[in-house]
């Protein structure tokens, strides 16, 4: 039997190429005013970016109260440093990088060993994705909506989730992630792969049972 050829690379543009940060109306003016200390401009920038920053923190930390604390820190940091924003990158790119760095710093302070990802990330065999050498489950394609995927991501072990969010959602390259997490690029690649395998497993369970496994795991 000959099957239709499947390209191995992702069908869409590379993560670094997709349009992550389209300009937001009024943002440039607000940035300039904020640099001059305009209080209204600060609140506008907060209103424009709070959801994305909070969601990023929540995905990286997996905890609402910590995510709110880090959102607060990120914006305080932003407002203190806004004078150094030169516009070389999109403002949201700059803000997200600042947020990621703050969250990682916080996690290191708490003693989370980001370097030895292999151990911290996959603590139990149960959490490790299964090898797939011959299952006959239906394909996922077309079956996963945003809410379902979000729940599955929340159910990932923390280290898998970290690399998945940074690479597949935020669009960072493996070499950037390796620098941020102080690990090798090979480690980043393999963690991402395991994260996607684990997601596939979670999403398949979700599609098959009336009591979604993803919901059960996420609720814990």
């Amino acid at each position: 039997m000959t099957l239709q050829a499947v390209p191995i690379a992702p069908s869409g543009p590379a993560p670094s190429l997709f349009k992550r940060n389209p300009p937001i109306a009024g943002e440039a003016e607000a940035i300039e005013s904020a640099k001059a200390g305009d209080a209204e401009a600060f609140s506008k920038l907060y209103a424009l970016h709070k959801r994305r920053v909070y969601t990023l923190c929540l995905r990286m930390l997996g905890n609402v109260s910590e995510a709110e604390d880090m959102t607060q820190e990120a914006f305080l940091h932003l407002f203190r440093k806004i004078g150094s924003f030169r516009g070389e990158s999109a403002f949201s790119t700059w803000l997200h990088r600042l947020t990621v760095n703050l969250v990682l710093m916080q996690l290191r302070k708490k003693g989370l060993q980001l370097v030895s990802l292999e151990e911290t990330i996959s603590p139990t065999d149960e959490d490790s994705p299964k090898r797939d050498f011959g299952s006959r489950d239906p394909q996922l394609t077309g079956s996963v909506d945003r809410v379902t995927l979000e729940r599955a991501v929340a159910a990932l072990p923390p280290g898998y989730r970290m690399v998945f969010v940074l690479h597949d959602v935020e669009g960072y390259e493996h070499n950037e992630i390796a620098t941020m997490l102080e690990c090798s690029t090979g480690n980043s690649k393999s963690q991402l792969h395991k994260a996607r395998l684990k997601l596939r497993e979670l999403l398949r369970q979700n599609g098959q049972s009336s009591q979604p496994a993803v919901l059960k795991e996420a609720a814990q």
Binding site: T2, I8, G12, E40, T71, D132, T141
Partner: protein, 103 residues
């Protein structure tokens, strides 16, 4: 006999194929693996082809998560930012609630 012929004459297992996947996904090649052994396995193994399609699908779908979710930080977060900034920067009045429109 070329290198590729040799590769094709020694087909790889699913385990070997899947071992190579993390690097293949990271390589960003434009859809066609330069390794004919891998492409041959992909063309002839339904299981691995499904796996690759699902993983591509997950990576594609992940991008929709970048758009802001419905959840947002509680109002207390802005209140804290406001009071800290006012103190630090001696800004007289930050608005009580963030506004999307400036007057």
């Amino acid at each position: 006999m070329t290198q590729n012929d040799q590769n094709l004459s020694a087909p790889i297992s699913c385990a070997d194929f899947q071992e190579r996947l993390p690097d293949l996904f990271a390589s960003g090649s434009n859809g066609v693996p330069d390794d004919l052994t891998l492409q041959h396995h992909l063309d002839t193994c339904e299981n691995c082809a499904n796996l690759v399609r699902d993983l591509q699908y997950i990576a594609d779908q992940a991008r929709m998560l970048l758009e802001p979710a419905e959840e947002e930080p509680s109002p207390g977060v802005w209140a804290n930012i406001q009071s800290k900034l006012s103190a630090e920067l001696a800004i007289p009045e930050l608005p009580l609630t963030p506004k999307l429109q400036t007057d």
